[in-house]
Symmetry: D2
Subunit: 329 residues, 4 copies
């Protein structure tokens, strides 16, 4: 009577067979576009003073950190984002000893930075203590990075912290929310911020790198091209690059900037990776960076032609914003 | 700088404002119809030898037990189902002392039955020990019912158990899965089962009641009308009744049958509720049952005209079934 | 080589087999609850001065009229709504010759009313000419009703029209949007509207009936109980009743009111249906109305205890409303 | 009374304000991953002997051709796919006069090919006449290409057609469905097909190019690496390349193969584009192809290490396939 199966269960139980997924995480990439992951479980939900936080366990992308309803990083492909954010700048610097990170509460940046033998000191400055604590408790994979003695964690607004400090850094990394409406966030993407706050805190030969929003063939006009154009008003050498990140359902962008030229060939980059980084990169090597920093025709053209510069009174935003935005525009 | 909010979070965080729900439970009511609840959390998932089990915490309906991808009962409206299944039969019986329940692992039936002062013994027979244990651990609300000394819990196939026993009962309650394809479940809805297994185990004046599937204006033809018609081949008096259950997105049906007539008026039913049941019903009273057992024109007509009788070789099924079904029909 | 099938189609075509539904209509019943129908096609979309209009062809419910993102009526079960709205009032009236309908652009009300032999004149007053025209063009099933010589169609605000007119009616039917935020719609549900606009336009013995929003075991507290309570401040005899409508995923409510008593038994209602209505009802007969107007314990209790009365400065709303609502409350 | 808006519409109309999208196209990219587009309309649905066909009008991606529930090409980004499939091969060939396309019913390939001044003859061979006719009628943008005198359209299985023909071609293009389970489609991706059917039909110096399935950082192991590895068993020079296509929610792959070396630099490619192609490419130029054909570390590694070769008895499949697949693997 092995196949009696559901004869004696409760009312309206379903038939045998391939079971459909029933629990889903759903994100509105844009108003007209949704991206949905089957859910294994909802590990934690919480809210800080600033943001709603969720840690989900998803079937396609593993554990996923969601802040204010937007996927921040997913277990199986965060290495693409974080290797791309951290390594090109540190490898192009002749000797990256001191690093300042704006944002970056969830810890993966630190993990990548601390893999560099040369690094002596990392200041991480995030405004949201609860997110930092949440990630420290729940994202086991990055735990080590939280306890490395080279790391100093500051809870403060990044701008205020940089303005207050007098020391200078080899590399400054911006891992901030995209410039969006309704908060002063875009103030951390403006020409004056780069010119009067960031640049003075870079040592001679120092490099600034920032995440720069979606960089797909259509989506790069949202903020990527403007961040690029704003940075080239302030720095002599500016390198935009991008990579497809499956869990974001898009190609993502970063921009690296300095007053010293970026001259490494793919082979030289590979050599520095070997000499300077503990363990092996999963995503980034010389050829990968060549490909990432060679943008497609359409994107190159837009970037060349971009005239918008972020200033305090003048910002361009990505999708996800309410009434204030509509009233302004 | 109180409103700096997300300036210093991580990349691509969303704007403030009304947050869209991002985690959902989704059920296919039919192939072309879905019913989706925002999720607070996924409390437990498991699998027994027979079925997949999930306990969800949903926003619209509270905690929800899902078996094989189908909602079984939801915290905020299970009282409608369970009061409807249990009380009409027990109240119509002059003195319901011994009760046999087929199925009913999740415990709400027992809770309702044990509210009757007259009840001396309840045999609950469910084939799936793991579901019973799962519910015992996780459905706090019904815990008490699991430990009432009047309750005897048997893990066995309900048919085998009834065939094996010699004692007779005042009321037998069928809380089994709907008659579906691919398993012998419909064997617990056949004329021969009712005639040769159930009826002999009823005392003189005994009452049988069973859940009878969806009973909506269209959905009642799936199994409700056939269960009704099958029972009226076997019992002299048969009463079909129904109630809208919000979490099922449908009206649900039950059928009560006996060889003694059902003669209680609404007022007499109310009196018996007062005299016999501990605590107060939330759903069922005399008028409610009058309404429930007065079916609408379309449904009454279908039931009157139904000619199908469940036999071993001949069943009608509800939605949710694959290739075997299609090949047969 | 008969089964070569997709060897020569285009790139990434899918496998053979049961095809998943890919086009869906999705409605947010509440913020946390969605109801989704597989789509055959989107027949028409449009927008009037007042509302967005869509005519969809859905797999589970046939053609469906959607206004402002909310299902209004679906081909396969609109008869439940429309027979319930129209027939109880007309049948309870001794001789319903003149009828005034507020709203009702899509035509099904008229169809039902015009089935009554006794009816001599029907004034239908809808504010939205485009919706009326849209329905006239696209809802073939009701076309006949649009051309019946007894029908007079007025494009105006119902309140203004009733105030302007001097004639009186046997039956007035309210088929207006639920009392919702952001417009004066709730003004057509207030005590003063009923007292000073509707009642004076009823002949002696006249009957007023209105749709009254969701009437489910939980949802009836949204507006149903308040509409009921407001009407009983104005009329001597008030009868609330309800029916489950599958395509609404809920039980729906209506309230009928008069200063003459409602005394028909189920059998008398059946007799009048036979004598007075052309063709056969699909849903409503005497027993059905007995059941519909016998509310369940929980709903009866709420209605008895309801103290809220709609006045101009004081309304209660159903789900689906934006910023104005939030600012007010 | 301008704002009376919905006071006089039909029952339960919703509030004014930002309207939620209610009609959606939903695709299961994988079992656990969904990609959903808001729908403007369903333009056409049909079914051929081989496949189900839908032409949708979507909000994020414009008109979209869906075959068997899988998006084939979307108006706003099909140029990425089609420029990538066609131009690298034609540009690398010294003088591409005769072209054979396997598949490609929807017409965009032809449009791209016919932009090359050098091309004298294009044979397009698709098995599904109805799809070809459907696209001819409904995809206005490609209409011109259907009537170019250089084009010859054959309705036949591509393998049979190539085997039957004696002439040889400069370029053969494979735009076939991915090698999937349940049909002989993978036979058009096998080593023996490439060796004994395709290669003999190439002129000396001829080039073969094929779409090669998803090529994302994880998805490239589904079929891309195997198609690459199979082709390098047969041809001396094999170039895999990829591009992110937004409407596919993935990076897509192609493989180009020949017995003559591919030696064009980015600048030479740009020069040939200028000289040989009518109009301007939107996506492809020299630098874009450099980037596309420089795969990331993880993908390069997988391709280098791939050992699987498609043979008649031995295939690897992409997502979308039922029980037969699971039994085999």
């Amino acid at each position: 009577m092995g196949d009696i199966s559901i004869s004696n269960g409760d009312h309206h139980a379903a038939a045998v067979g391939v079971q459909r997924k029933s629990c889903w995480y759903e994100e509105e990439i844009e108003e007209n576009l949704r991206w949905c992951f089957a859910l294994k479980s909802i590990l934690h939900t919480g809210a800080s003073q600033y943001q709603d936080i969720q840690l989900l366990d998803t079937k396609p992308f593993g554990k996923a950190l969601v802040i204010d309803g937007k996927l921040q990083s997913a277990e199986i492909d965060e290495f693409i984002y974080h290797e791309s954010l951290v390594h090109p700048a540190l490898l192009n610097h002749p000797s990256p000893k001191t690093i300042f990170i704006m944002g970056g509460g969830e810890g993966c940046k630190r993990r990548e930075i601390l893999r560099h033998w040369a690094v002596e000191k990392v200041i991480m400055c995030d405004i949201d203590e609860e997110v930092v604590d949440f990630c420290k408790s729940h994202l086991v994979v990055n735990k080590e990075a939280f306890y490395d003695p080279r790391l100093e964690l500051i809870i403060n607004d990044a701008r205020a912290e940089l303005e207050r400090r007098e020391e200078v850094y080899d590399v400054i990394i911006g891992d901030l929310a995209d410039p969006i409406e309704g908060g002063p966030c875009y103030q951390l993407y403006t020409k004056s911020f780069y010119e009067f706050v960031v640049k003075p805190r870079l040592k001679h030969g120092g490099i600034f790198v920032t995440q720069a929003g979606p960089a797909g063939i259509f989506s790069h006009t949202e903020v990527f091209s403007c961040i690029y154009n704003t940075l080239r008003q302030v720095f002599k050498y500016v390198v935009p690059y991008s990579a497809h990140i499956p869990s974001y359902a898009d190609t993502w962008g970063w921009v690296m900037a300095s007053d010293s030229p970026f001259t490494l060939s793919a082979d030289e980059l590979d050599l520095r990776i070997k000499q300077r980084i503990k363990g092996e990169n999963r995503y980034l090597d010389g050829k990968t960076f060549t490909s990432s920093s060679t943008l497609s025709k359409a994107v190159r053209k837009s970037l060349d032609n971009e005239t918008h510069v972020y200033t305090e009174g003048n910002a361009r935003f990505i999708y996800g914003h309410g009434s204030a935005y509509k009233q302004q525009h």
